[in-house]
Amino acid sequence: MSAAFVVGVLVAAGVFLLLRPGLLRVVLGFVLLGHAVNVVLLAAGGLGRRTAALEEVGPDTADPLPQAFVLTAIVITFGITVHLLGLLRRDAGGPTSGADSAGEADTDGAGTVGGDDIGGTGGHGAAGWPG
């Protein structure tokens, strides 16, 4: 029951942030949604079973599989959050975006000549994406 409540609050807050303008809020929204899904995963293994699954297996031994799932999911969410923050920094014109955007616009000259793209907010560089 408490898990359901936590998931509900996290999802509500996450969706609220996703629907707000601004990329930073979107990033935070995805972080909250990621946490919500992690709680769902843990709950899927049964929250009442708390004994460590190291030696003999009893009725209240914790299920190790969802914990492994959550670990993997946390790593993925973390990586994507870093990438999103990198995008955010690039779009905000962070300190490294100046020099690289010239080179990037040069290599993509074919695209800018014809102006064949929607939006057309102009060339941001490729700087700031995680290597």
């Binding site: 799932f69 929607i118 907010t121 290597g131």
Partner: protein, 487 residues
């Protein structure tokens, strides 16, 4: 024998890792990427031969027992898709040399990781690993998109990342629900569970919904035409061969194994299929650049494959598998044509340029072949695929679906003619009458892919046999389930 299954997944990952620590050595990167993809292609072909009699080789990585192990398995469908995507990636790599895409930093290692994730998703046997491998595929695609986009990629990149991230979150939640209701995530353990147990059907429905976002099924398709047309065409060709097709493959696999082809949901699949066909093709009518038209056709063509699944007869499934395999080749050929047009003209917008047929007859030939195949005219593979599908709908008596399929392919032909008359016939633009050099590395790959489509149409028998084997495995997944669950 089953160690072969590791090659398409681990091979590209290892090579990508090595190439990442040697940045800036473009020649080495090219050799590494081409060699790796050639090895993956050979591995895919060997798997295709091994699975042609319905055998399902299974590998449990690390030798762990059933549900804990990371298992990889190949049946005819998986092996076929691994092979076809390896062909497409190889062609895209050649085009990337011509268009200069591959000199962007980290381009080739990213493509290798993308391929590893895609192949892994075709071969994996449990839902959680499916999620992980789809993420392995998506993360490089985020970077490729922001790296190789044109102007306006900032906004498109945000739409792409946000949509796919939401899809992945939903997918993970779905996997959690499936684990909560069944205590298993392996396809072997889940076989038929959604047919027998309504709660599992709902949990799996969340997974299918997430996969619907990834494969851009109507009404979840809106992100695709917003993002793909602003990306470099070579990268879109890669994405079209791997990203949406992995989602589609997973939908097919899960519906066949976990739902056991439950007839109660076929109307829903059929409705989504017909809607995708119609909405996609109508969107293409209003589009004004080659890439935008082709992207809308992706939505429409995915509907055809899904229609074959919705019929769930032996003929319908075989048509879906044949359709999917040949369509990946044809769509990549068309996008690589767009890459060549863009390299020559500086743009792939329809207005203000023409006369490419006179200047580059080989490119015109490649485009004409692929376009006719997409519209479903003989003697190309698209004709065989549409013929099989229409025959399957007629056998089932699904006359509405049949009528829609015929009408949609007519409109498809119309928009292919629109590209043809705008870009290839007529007078070349006055300002830049001399097309910039479209080298053989740009013309060769689409020509080769169109040739493959022609070959798959003229000599359809080998591919049809594979499609029949795959369809038999989908209709009666007992053999696959037995091999995967190890019982």
């Amino acid at each position: 024998m089953s160690g072969l299954l590791l090659i398409p997944v681990v091979g590209p990952l290892l090579v990508a890792g090595v190439l990442l620590v040697l940045p800036g050595r473009i020649r080495l990167h090219r050799v590494g990427a081409f060699a790796t993809m050639a090895v993956v292609l050979v591995a895919g072909l060997v798997l295709l031969v091994r699975t042609s009699d319905g055998a399902v080789p299974v590998l449990r990585v690390g030798g762990w027992p059933g549900p804990i192990a990371i298992s990889l398995a190949a049946d005819a469908l998986s092996a076929l898709l691994v092979t076809v995507t390896a062909v497409v990636v190889l062609c895209c790599l050649v085009s990337a040399v011509g268009s200069g895409d591959d000199s962007r930093p980290y381009f080739l290692p990213l493509v290798l990781v993308l391929t590893a994730g895609g192949s892994g998703a075709f071969l994996t046997t449990d839902l959680f690993n499916l999620f992980v491998l789809i993420e392995v595929m998506l993360v490089p695609s985020y970077v490729l998109l922001s790296l190789a986009g044109g102007a306006g990629r900032g906004g498109a990149g945000r739409v792409y990342v946000a949509t796919n991230l939401l899809g992945s979150t939903l997918l993970l939640a779905g996997v959690a629900f499936v684990y909560g209701t069944t205590g298993a995530v392996g396809l072997g353990e889940l076989a038929g569970a959604a047919r027998d147990e309504p709660t599992v059907a709902v949990a799996c429905g969340v997974v299918l919904l997430a996969l619907g976002v990834k494969s851009a099924l109507v009404p979840l398709h809106d992100w695709l035409p917003r993002t793909y047309p602003v990306v470099s065409p070579v990268v879109v060709a890669l994405f079209s061969g791997l990203l949406t097709k992995v989602g589609l493959y997973a939908v097919i696999r899960i519906y066949a194994v976990v739902y056991g082809g439950d007839p109660g949901y076929r109307w829903l699949l059929g409705a989504v299929a017909l809607l995708s066909m119609v909405v996609g093709v109508l969107g293409a009518v209003g589009a004004d650049s080659m890439r935008r038209i082709l992207t809308f056709h992706m939505v429409s063509q995915i509907g055809y494959v899904l229609l074959g699944l919705a019929l769930f007869t032996a003929a319908g499934l075989a048509a879906a598998v044949y359709y999917l395999a040949q369509y990946i080749l044809v769509k990549a050929a068309l996008f690589l044509c767009a890459a060549a047009v863009r390299a020559g003209r500086g743009t792939d917008r329809l207005e203000g340029s023409g006369g490419l047929a006179g200047q580059r007859p080989a490119l015109a030939l490649a485009f004409a072949g692929a376009a006719l195949s997409l519209a479903g005219l003989p003697p190309f593979s698209g004709f065989v695929a549409k013929f099989l599908l229409l025959r399957a709908t007629a056998e089932t008596g699904a006359w509405l679906a049949m009528a829609v399929a015929v009408l949609v392919s007519l409109v498809t032909l119309l928009s292919m003619l629109k590209i043809w008359s705008a870009l290839f016939t007529g007078a070349p633009p006055a300002s830049s009458s001399v097309a910039k050099r479209i080298g053989p590395t740009l013309v060769g790959p689409p020509l080769a892919l169109a040739g493959l489509s022609l070959a798959a149409g003229l000599a359809a028998q080998p591919l049809l046999v594979v499609a029949d084997t795959a369809a038999a495995g989908l209709r009666d997944p007992a053999g696959y389930v037995r091999a995967v669950s190890g019982r």
